[in-house]
């Protein structure tokens, strides 16, 4: 299962989840679009913009699905949607409510066995971007979706890897969408399900030496801002604050002292067109965005 599933089950396990923004819809101050928008809408728009120029995207359901479809309608018209269930080139006629939705199959380019999907597409290195969610993430982008507490006697049993550890290793770039809090942005994760930049500075070297396809985590979009990763240290760096968010809020919502870009930007608010697409075409019932 992909992003949103891990996500939401993590939510059900007591962790923060992006979809849990009920009540926040259209409550945040508007940006350049002049309109109000929810935190989820900001996260979707920010993630979609990062997909500019990408070709093949391993999709999860929920926010990543909407972000990917928004990108396809804006910055990445040639984006091909891959679902781990064994679909390439999906053209869903409705917003899939889960990855177990037959609409991802009808009208797709190719359906293949899961062996072929994972071996010939993902492990072969044909996937440009994969989305991951996290119950816990550390400063190097390593992710835990397995357990809170000890593996043998967990305080909270999370869903586990699914395809996440494979996406983390093989997707050329990894996008993370998640809400941040001291419980989710932690100094030390309880279990490493999906490798990010591993120990930090030598993460890139370990990936190259091991012949991994993936370059590691590329961007983390939270409800407060956008992080990229410093090439030298492998550490997450806050590059942009969402409209209305403050550095203090960010510091209060993470377990380590964050690196902050010299020129900290403000994320452009969702444009009128982005909001129109999200609200009218992609999630008209507001299932994921309210």
């Amino acid at each position: 299962m992909s992003e949103q599933h891990r996500h939401e089950s993590a939510a059900a396990s007591g962790s923060a989840a992006a979809s849990r923004s009920v009540g926040a819809r259209r409550s945040a101050a508007g940006g350049q679009s002049g309109s109000v928008f929810s935190k989820s809408e900001m996260m979707i728009a920010a993630a979609a913009r990062e997909l500019a120029g990408k070709r093949v995207c391993f999709v999860g359901v929920g926010l990543p699905n909407i972000a990917v479809n928004l990108a396809k309608r804006t910055v990445a018209p040639d984006l091909e949607l891959v679902y781990e269930a064994g679909v390439f080139g999906a053209e869903p006629a409705r917003l899939p409510l889960s990855i177990g939705d037959p609409t991802i199959v009808t009208g797709s380019t190719a359906v293949m066995s899961m062996f072929e999907l994972f071996a010939y597409y993902l492990q072969r290195g044909l996937v440009d971007v994969g989305f991951l969610g996290a119950a816990q993430i550390d400063r190097y982008g390593n992710i835990n979706t397995t357990v809170i507490g000890d593996y043998a006697h967990p305080k909270t049993r999370l869903p586990g890897s699914g395809g996440a550890c494979e996406i983390a290793i093989h997707a050329r770039a990894v996008f993370v969408i998640m809400r941040q809090s001291k419980r989710s942005f932690v100094e030390r994760i309880d279990f490493r399900t999906s490798p990010g930049n591993i120990g930090g500075p030598d993460g890139a070297r370990i990936r190259r030496a091991g012949g991994w396809n993936g370059g590691g985590p590329s961007v983390v979009v939270t409800d407060l801002g956008i992080y990229h990763f410093d090439e030298a240290t492998g550490e997450m760096r806050l590059d942009s604050l969402h409209p209305g968010a403050t550095l203090e809020q960010v510091r209060d919502a993470m377990g380590w002292e964050p690196q902050v870009a010299d020129r900290l930007a403000t994320t452009p608010a969702p444009s009128t067109e982005e909001l129109r697409l999200i609200r009218e075409e992609l999630d008209p019932q507001g299932v994921y965005t309210k």
Binding site: S9, L97, S113, S161, G210
Partner: protein, 305 residues
Amino acid sequence: MTSKVATMADAVRELVRDGDTVAIEGFTHLIGFAAGHEIIRQRKRDLTLARLTPDLIYDQMIGAGVARKLIFSWLGNPGVGGLHAIRRRIEVAQPAPLEIEEYSHFGMVCRYVAGASNLPFFPLRSYYETDLPAANPLIRPIRSPYGDETVYAVPPLRPDVTIVHAQRADAAGDTQVWGLLGCQKEAAFAAQRVIVVVEELVDEAVIRADPNRTIIPGLKVDAVVVEPFGAHPSYAQGYYDRDNRFYLEWEAISRDPAALEAWLDEWVYGVSGRAEYLAKLGEERVAALRPGAAPSQPVDYGAYR
């Protein structure tokens, strides 16, 4: 040709034995709920259940007490929440502990491929720099005999019984699927015994008119059970949609042991089989799940005489 058509009750009684390793496969598509319910109804015990995504069906089965062990790669109710009956057994051993053996999706798939191929292991490039090999010592590093690259290996998974739901089969068990294929073929070839549950029983001529759609030959099949809507609340491509309402409702049922017990009493123990379950569900709800038509075009195999 001998017919392998059997009732679900007979197929499960004869082919699923206490203590067996059972794989009900079908990734989001064609999940064998009818078969799982029959296993509950027959009060099978001490099963080892294997499946990439245990999903609602294994939450129900494990909640009902049929299993002592779970082999899996992702434990959740996709898009909704958790599988609380399973989690209770893992987190607080209620009502009993549950042994687990955990992989990633590709790791599970490769285990079935190894089983289907009679290989002692299968290599894959997963697990690097993760805690999974420490959590599961059956995930082992292996060096390539060409240069110094190291990959990981997983062992073969060889279920005693694999159960798959499919769109159609003939009486000999020749089975066809379209839409998502998951790893049903591999899980079936890996198994000692195979039960196929289908939406429709078709004439052998239908199978032979399109042999590229066959995923399992009758040779590997022990019983064919005809059980329309047997994958509900999951879906069968072209036959019915996923019943999302039930997935949403399961969250509350699964959280409460008493509610789970009541649900099992009403929908599993309280019905004789899938026909009664469907009648209980009601015609209206069932009818609402039927999709519009989206037919493929025929292809020509050519008559070569």
